[in-house]
């Protein structure tokens, strides 16, 4: 039983190594995909797409486009909720998605 278990554990070790390799490959593929200039240009959604994903559709939809490493803090002060955004890599774009 011990030898059987040893064999199982070494198989699991191989399976885990294979997953690690696939995960790092996938991360690289995703980064290359999003950095490709053509994909950068075509990687957009329309306001109507956003409207179709919120329920009910007549909500306020605020869009935030921030530079990398922007810090978002969500805190619960006594009143309501507070969201703060702090960027050190350039201005943050915030706009409301029009209803129509």
């Amino acid at each position: 039983r011990y030898q059987e278990l040893q064999r199982e554990v070494s198989e699991l070790s191989e399976a885990e190594d294979k997953l690690d390799e696939l995960i790092s490959k996938c991360n690289l593929q995703l980064r290359l995909l999003t950095e490709d200039s053509n994909n950068k240009k075509l990687g957009y959604v329309r306001c109507q797409d956003l409207r179709n994903t919120v329920d009910p559709p007549d909500q306020i939809v605020m869009v935030i486009r921030a530079p990398p490493e922007t810090q978002m803090t969500v805190s619960e002060p006594s009143q309501g909720y507070q969201i703060s955004l702090k960027s050190t890599n350039g201005p943050i774009d915030v706009f409301l998605c029009p209803e129509d």
């Binding site: 995703l30 999003t34 990687g43 605020m62 935030i64 921030a66 530079p67 990398p68 490493e69 922007t70 810090q71 978002m72 803090t73 969500v74 805190s75 619960e76 002060p77 006594s78 009143q79 309501g80 909720y81 955004l85 960027s87 890599n89 915030v94 706009f95 409301l96």
Partner: protein, 48 residues
């Protein structure tokens, strides 16, 4: 008071980073909060 800090601005990060925030916000008793604030009448909507 609870406070959650996340980094934004990159695509395709771990998609569950906002789940915790959404759970925290949705589990709040907003009517109690309003009573704490004293004024239950909503203020006129401000546009960005």
């Amino acid at each position: 008071r609870s406070r959650i800090l996340v980094s934004i601005g990159e695509s395709f990060g771990t998609s569950d980073k906002f789940q915790k925030i959404n759970q925290m916000v949705s589990s709040t008793d907003w009517s109690l909060k309003r009573r704490l604030e004293g004024d239950s009448t909503p203020k006129p909507l401000k546009r960005l």
